[in-house]
């Protein structure tokens, strides 16, 4: 019974998942749950294992430790498994000499679920020249072609590795709009996991967030819950800062002021009157965790 419930509400579950190259752990102790229908941001410093995690999920690499369940299955290279998953690698692997049209024809030939009409109307709406070799398109257009191809197979899960990293701001917004539209059209049947460094963009389109840093899963929750449980406390210097009501993620001191970014342990936490409680935005929260992880790494 539990298993059935997990299948319907969870798109991805990883337990102690890890990948080791020689003596180096590219990903370690990764414990995540991605709810079905969510658009999840995957963030963390370079080298935290984001790409490694995505590769493990599509079985382009096999785990050295732990396990993952994706759409109720263990990652494997069978066509049954991969037909439900769209994966767009960082470098957007397209054939530069081949036209957009030819890419679509190839997809239609290789995939039984292929919705060519959907891909064509999507790309025409974006005014992408269908007869032009992909190598002659702009970066933004190439990313849109990659996305359209990944969506044309009607996946239940879409994994995007830094899809907007190389795009100019306008192309970035256009890409995110296409992605949000696809999520709307799928009506909760599509789960998206997208790695990126651009936190402000992510807050717009994503509703969940996973933060990998220092070989650990630092955060894995809905953005709403993360924001609700993290606060910025501003108060006088030279006063005891610790409290059972919260855990300190980041502590900043000035001559006569102390700022604490904290995770609340107690929902009904009330600060003393000398401390002011402010909301923190997702960017501040993620940066605080990344700094904390970096300091711990340096001390090790």
């Amino acid at each position: 019974m539990d298993n059935v419930a997990a299948k319907t509400t969870t798109a991805i579950q990883a337990t102690d998942l890890g990948k080791r190259y020689g003596s180096f752990w590219a990903l370690k102790d990764c414990n995540i749950v991605v709810p079905r229908g969510s658009v999840t941001a995957l963030v963390g410093p370079n080298g935290a294992g984001k790409t490694t995690l995505l590769k493990l999920l599509v079985d382009l690499s096999s785990p050295s430790a732990g396990s993952a369940t994706v759409l109720g299955m263990t990652p494997n290279q069978s066509s049954g498994y991969l037909s439900e998953i769209g994966y767009l690698a960082q470098e957007i692997p397209l054939y530069s000499q081949m036209t957009v049209e030819k890419h679509l024809a190839m997809g239609a030939h290789l995939d039984t679920n292929w919705d060519n009409g959907l891909a064509v109307s999507r790309l025409k709406e974006l005014k992408i020249p269908m007869g032009r070799p992909v190598g002659k398109l702009s970066g933004g257009q190439r990313a849109q072609v990659g996305l359209a191809l990944a969506l044309a197979k009607k996946p239940k899960l879409l994994l995007l590795d830094e899809p907007v990293a190389a795009l100019d701001p306008l192309a970035r917004v256009e890409f995110l709009t296409s992605l949000a539209q696809a999520a709307t059209d799928a009506g909760g049947e599509l789960t998206v996991v997208m790695s990126s460094h651009l936190l402000a963009d992510l807050e717009r389109v994503c509703d969940h967030l996973i933060l990998l840093a220092a070989g650990e899963t630092q955060l894995c929750d809905s953005i709403e819950h993360i924001i609700a449980t993290h606060k910025l406390l501003v108060g006088p210097r030279n006063e005891a800062t610790s409290s059972p009501g919260y855990s300190i993620i980041k502590e900043t001191h000035a001559v006569n002021e102390t700022n604490l970014l904290v995770r609340l342990n107690d929902k009904n936490f009330r600060s003393s009157s000398r401390w002011h409680v402010h909301d923190a935005n997702i960017e501040d929260i993620v940066l605080a965790y990344m700094e904390q992880a970096k300091q711990e790494g340096d001390e090790r």
Binding site: V39, L179, A180, Q181, D185, R204, D207
Partner: protein
């Protein structure tokens, strides 16, 4: 049709920004009783936010009694939020103008005046 805007730097959650903007537009008369709000797809296209964010904003507006969703048709503006009658508004504006003049006379600049207003409002 109104144009929805999202500011990702403001720190205000995107769903709340949509709620605030629509309430503001109703108050300003840009949205009137019976007007249809953008569909979720239109809202997503304008802002690149997650569709669940738009659903949540519309649910919140419905909860506040400002709009009503009609399944399969759309979400429509119901009421104007409580605004004081025109004469009351004029009287309050006159009082506030006098108060601001007084504050300036006493040497408060705009920033200090605003701060005082907000502090008193929250008391």
């Amino acid at each position: 049709m109104i144009i929805l805007r999202i500011n990702t730097r403001s720190g205000v959650p995107p769903y709340l920004q949509i709620v605030q903007q629509i309430k503001h537009d109703i108050r300003l008369g840009l949205l009137k009783k019976g007007d249809k709000l953008p569909t979720v797809k239109e809202a997503v296209t304008m802002t690149a936010v997650n569709p669940n964010t738009v659903f949540k904003a519309y649910r919140e507006l419905e909860h506040q009694g400002l709009v009503k969703g009609q399944p399969g048709i759309g979400v429509f503006v119901l009421n104007n939020p409580d605004t004081p009658p025109a004469d009351a508004q004029a009287r309050l504006t006159a009082d506030l103008t006098r108060w601001i003049q007084e504050a300036r006379k006493l040497g408060l600049d705009d920033e200090a005046t605003e701060a005082l207003f907000h502090i008193t409002l929250r008391k």
